[in-house]
Symmetry: C2
Subunit: 678 residues, 2 copies
């Protein structure tokens, strides 16, 4: 692999931009193009400052419009009239990030979470009965998982469903205020039914009630007129930092009875007499299999975060190309702010990281599609591959949502006061995406999941989100051997073979990969050594927790190190696959900037561990600066390659209005200077 | 100075908390206590989700209430009925950060910016005529500095005031759309008058018009009924990411005539015949003297940012002490999230930095007070001291506003979904303070101002915000010698003498200071060497710009390195001054955490430059972890020491409601488990 070299501005043509866009669009490029062609998409936005009730109304209307257009069909099974295209459903969901994020999240609640849960956990009869209404919006629904007292720790939810064999019904109860289902989209206003996650209890006649762990039950909330049903208590979560077009609320149930058929019973069912049965014996494994089936939600949030970051960068880079500030000494007129290294340093490494995450996200969606399509067709999915999917979804979701938060914030600041005005969208993008880092799994908890995937081979009873509960298991069973690493580094292996050890080539992809691989391996090895003393029956629970807790930052670092390598691999694969020479050269430079920015951000580690000499470490910073300067002429082309249609951008500072203003200002200023000649 | 040692939980008593609070409150402690005692303060908030017009109404009403209570009097001269207490005006402004930030900013516009400009730039007659109405709100006004096309580069504003000697009036004109005054608080709805920053032109009869640079003129905007006056064009900036209780707008002027007496003429006046005169000959120096007189605005924003960060940390740490998640293996019940190292790592270093900035801010306010009080009393202020004040104000404002953005964001995430609900205030704090990093001077531009202060002795014609225009000057005149360093490190000097070079004592204050001092010195020396080639008449302007631009990241690093040291000095001084032994020990630990976090964040630099060995660098990280664990029991005491009254906190997750919920949940859960005994 050759080092990247700067490109002449002239060699990047519209065709280059198209070629880069193809790389970024991935397997669902033609679906993305279809959606891009929709003129009406730009209308799918609600003016900032709209009051909450009007906003909710408007989002509901737009959702109905999407439903009428068949937007919901992609991901649902062909048996109920859907397209059976899971990857397509994620890609089309992503595109809504360019419209209104409340609309996107509301659609995600209805079709991704509510419909997706029925699809993933329900049986064929339930599919036929409910999914058509889910798709056409005649059955608006909720996804009742999170409780006020239990967010990421879903396994500890307290809502109970107790089977009553006398009537053949489940009795749904919310035992405490903190067991209320909370932050539930569609709950405060529109939902008619909810998938409610409960602790399932059965008590065959004459026997003690038995708990079978977390299951999902369909519970009607409102009648056709929207009146809340008896025993259901709904409160509004009220105003939120963002996403105020979504009607989040709290649900509590007081002795609500639903028929036995309302249990979504793919992984566990209850016979009329109350006998419980499941194809998966271990409660823990059953729980994680069920959660695993719902992984699409996490993948979708990740895609939305990448889309929001792309839009923010498009706005900020267009503005930075038009905005001039401070006169150059001896120069004519003021300097374009993107010509300042400090401004490039703010935006371009984040642009490179967003490229990298876009490409990693594309691979994630392909993996999701392949795994779930195989399963829906009745095929066997390797359990290891399923776990790999879940681990990647967790990790990429964490990286891409944190990336969105940082990118949009930096873009807002890079646009100054203009960025603070809602008309320029950055403020709204920030507030609407803020919760992404903590919903669909808190990012810190997700990284721990990734780390645990790395240090264990996922024995049957292992792999849950409860980090602490598994310390003993990890310590006792798997810490002797560092588990085999994931098999995702095949390209890396090949490249490593080629030029590993060549110390001076920071722009050599294989050298970059080697640095990240080394870090991952060392971090993981040393983590395992640190956790080993927690092993053995002689170690108290308190001591085991202490050992784990003192290494928690190390655990998180291991996860991040792994993910950085995985994302870089995706970028390298995309560069390799790119056929257009100019596009490939451009992408290689962006990839170099990504890799070196990652290394620069953690140069302390590389120096501490002898992976970089002091001189080479300084060279990393110098190279990042050089890459910023040499990519600066192509910044506009790089955001154009995101392919966000002009009419969707919607920010006056990005769509020429501001450029016009500035030109006019310059013209007047010159005239003015002439008029008042000193 | 002895190393900090962990404290027993029991040794931190309510008296310790009071002692720490005294340190944080600084010179205006009793004024702060007076304001804390105000019960009605908690009512000074507007419910989230309030529509813009209602919000503006409500903020106006609250502002009137503050005016009626005499809140505005602190900072105004005794000659017009004020208290002449400049530091007190900043301290009382800061306290409003705990109420509603729109109210705070609106008060800042009225009394700090509009009133402050009249006070700083006007003459005694103007004071007597306008300030009473400013204080009692009968004359609501605007501060018209920023233009759409010119934010931080105020010297380039295009609005013109041309003197017409025939009528004795100035004619105010907005030559282009981008010369409109923009983001102007009080403009869209309430302002009756504006201080407008203009390029001043005079043309004594028969002569060519002459430009005298930027001046400030009082321009009426609306009549008593609120009707916009002829020639004045006002548009609303519309909805913003935050601060929607402030009516920001754009002002344009079309041949608006105001009497000659409306020029705020402390630094430049125009005689009836159009003759211009000023006590400061150089236009550049006059401009920066004028801006320097307005430094209070920047100091106030900085204080507000510190206050907002304190409130966010109070909420997040109280929540983290109450919230439990995931069961410990073998333990009873779930673990308090603040017991996780990852959670401590998120919050405690930021808490330490907020302590440090609080103390640096206190010193800044004292300096402001002393300098401006001396000047208002007619005394002489050393020009060097004035520049030091401006440089510190710029630097501390940049650090504290970026700190607020980061702190509030992390606190939001640390509170999960609860943090996203507006009732818990974190989302609103985030959006309301977001613009702080770019208003009152863009932070990146401010850091450049600090850096330039470091590399030059501020010759008369030097020291403006236009970095580029001064490259030549810097290169030609001052680069041969690294200018004398600031004299602020006196404590550092003393401590350095004591134990410098003692390599193993990371917890030794002098060792920490030495590391930061070394970094500052080395960064500055090497910066000067990099810029030296820009020197000489043979170097083209383009080349000089290129040399400067390629070192821009280095320039920013020099500024930050300097500021980190300055902030650490403030913290050390406060520890030294603390008389209560437990409070002192506690503060020393927090100070260690601050210093070591700063070093850890830049460990790459310390390793590259041989200031830390690999082993010592790793020890820094281990020490930060140890400090997090040993400060954890005192986290609540540390936020209690911010002294935010219970009734002002206002977030249900922080004020016991959530604790009650959680206790109840635990009780029920146990009962529940018993009931369904397996």
């Amino acid at each position: 692999m050759t080092a990247s070299t700067p490109l002449d501005p002239g060699s990047v043509t519209p065709a280059t931009v198209v070629a880069v866009r193809r790389s970024l669009d991935g397997r669902w490029a033609s679906l993305r193009d279809e959606i891009r062609a929709r003129d009406d998409f730009a209308q799918l936005r609600v003016p900032p400052g709209t009051d909450t009730e009007t906003y909710r109304d408007r989002v509901w209307e737009m959702l109905a419009q999407l439903a009428a257009d068949g937007h919901a069909l992609h991901g649902f099974p062909t048996s109920v009239g859907g397209h059976g295209d899971i990857g397509g459903s994620v890609a089309s969901f992503e595109m809504l990030a360019f419209a209104d994020l409340s609309l996107q999240v509301k659609s995600g609640v209805q079709w991704g979470l509510f419909g997706g849960a029925i699809q993933a956990l329900g049986n064929a009869e339930q599919h036929a009965r409910y999914l058509p209404g889910v798709m056409d919006l005649s059955l608006p629904g909720c996804f009742g998982m999170t409780e006020t007292g239990h967010g990421s720790d879903v396994q500890s939810v307290h809502t109970a469903a107790t089977y009553d064999p006398r009537t053949g019904e489940f009795v749904i109860d919310t035992p405490t205020e903190s067991a209320r289902k909370d932050y539930i989209g569609n709950a405060a206003r529109d939902g008619r039914m909810a998938v409610v996650f409960v602790q399932l209890y059965t008590a065959p006649e004459g026997e003690q009630p038995e708990r079978h762990g977390v299951h999902a039950v369909l519970v009607p909330l409102r009648d056709e007129d929207g009146t809340v049903l008896p025993g259901v208590e709904i409160t509004d979560d009220g105003h939120k930092e963002g996403l105020n077009g979504v009607d989040n609320g709290r649900l509590a149930f007081h002795g609500v009875r639903v028929p036995r058929e309302n249990l979504l019973d793919r992984y566990g069912s209850v016979a009329a007499d109350g006998t419980y049965s499941s194809s998966i014996e271990s409660e823990n494994r059953r729980f994680f299999t069920m959660l695993g089936a719902l992984v699409r939600g996490r993948v979708s949030v990740s895609g939305s975060a990448v889309g929001a970051a792309q839009l923010a960068l498009t706005i900020a880079i267009r503005y930075a190309e038009a905005r001039r500030q401070f006169a150059a000494p001896g120069g004519d007129g003021e300097i374009t702010i993107l010509d300042y290294l400090a401004h490039q340093r703010k935006l371009l490494p984040l642009l490179a990281r967003t490229y990298a995450l876009r490409l990693a996200q594309d691979e994630l969606v392909e993996m999701l599609h392949d795994v779930q399509t195989t399963r829906e067709a009745g095929g066997d999915v390797d359990e290891k591959r399923q776990r790999e999917l879940e681990s990647r979804a967790a990790g990429i979701k964490a990286l891409s949502t944190w990336n969105a938060t940082e990118v949009i914030q930096v873009c807002r600041e890079a646009c100054g006061g203009q960025g603070f005005l809602s008309e320029n969208r950055l403020g709204t993008l920030r507030t609407d995406t803020d919760v992404f880092t903590t919903f669909e799994g808190d990012n810190t908890v997700l990284l721990q999941l990734v780390a645990k995937g790395l240090i264990s081979d996922y024995a049957d009873d292992f792999g849950n989100l409860d980090t602490l509960g598994t310390i003993r298991f990890v310590a006792d069973q798997v810490l002797d051997t560092v588990a085999e690493r994931t098999s995702l580094h095949s390209l890396a292996e090949r490249l490593r073979g080629a030029t590993a050890g060549d110390d001076d080539q920071l722009l050599d992809a294989s050298a970059q990969i080697k640095l990240l691989d080394d870090r991952e391996e060392h971090t993981l090895d040393s983590l395992v050594r640190r956790l080993r003393p927690a092993r053995g029956k002689g170690v108290s629970a308190a001591r085991a927790f202490e050992i784990f807790n003192r290494a928690q930052d190390h655990l998180l670092k291991a996860a991040r190190s792994h993910l950085d390598g995985l994302v870089l691999d995706a970028f390298n694969r995309a560069c390799e696959a790119q056929q257009d020479p100019a596009a490939r050269q451009l992408m290689r430079q962006v990839c170099d900037l990504y890799a070196l920015s990652v290394i620069e951000a953690d140069k302390g580690w590389f120096l501490e561990h002898g992976r970089l000499s002091a001189a080479r470490s300084k060279a990393v910073t110098a190279e990042v600066n050089r890459l910023c300067l040499s990519l600066r002429p192509h910044a506009r082309a790089l955001v154009d390659a995101f392919g966000i249609p002009e009419s969707w951008i919607g920010a006056p500072i990005a769509t020429g209005d501001e450029e016009r203003r500035q030109r006019e200002a310059d013209a007047h200023a010159h005239a003015d200077a002439g008029e008042h000649q000193v």
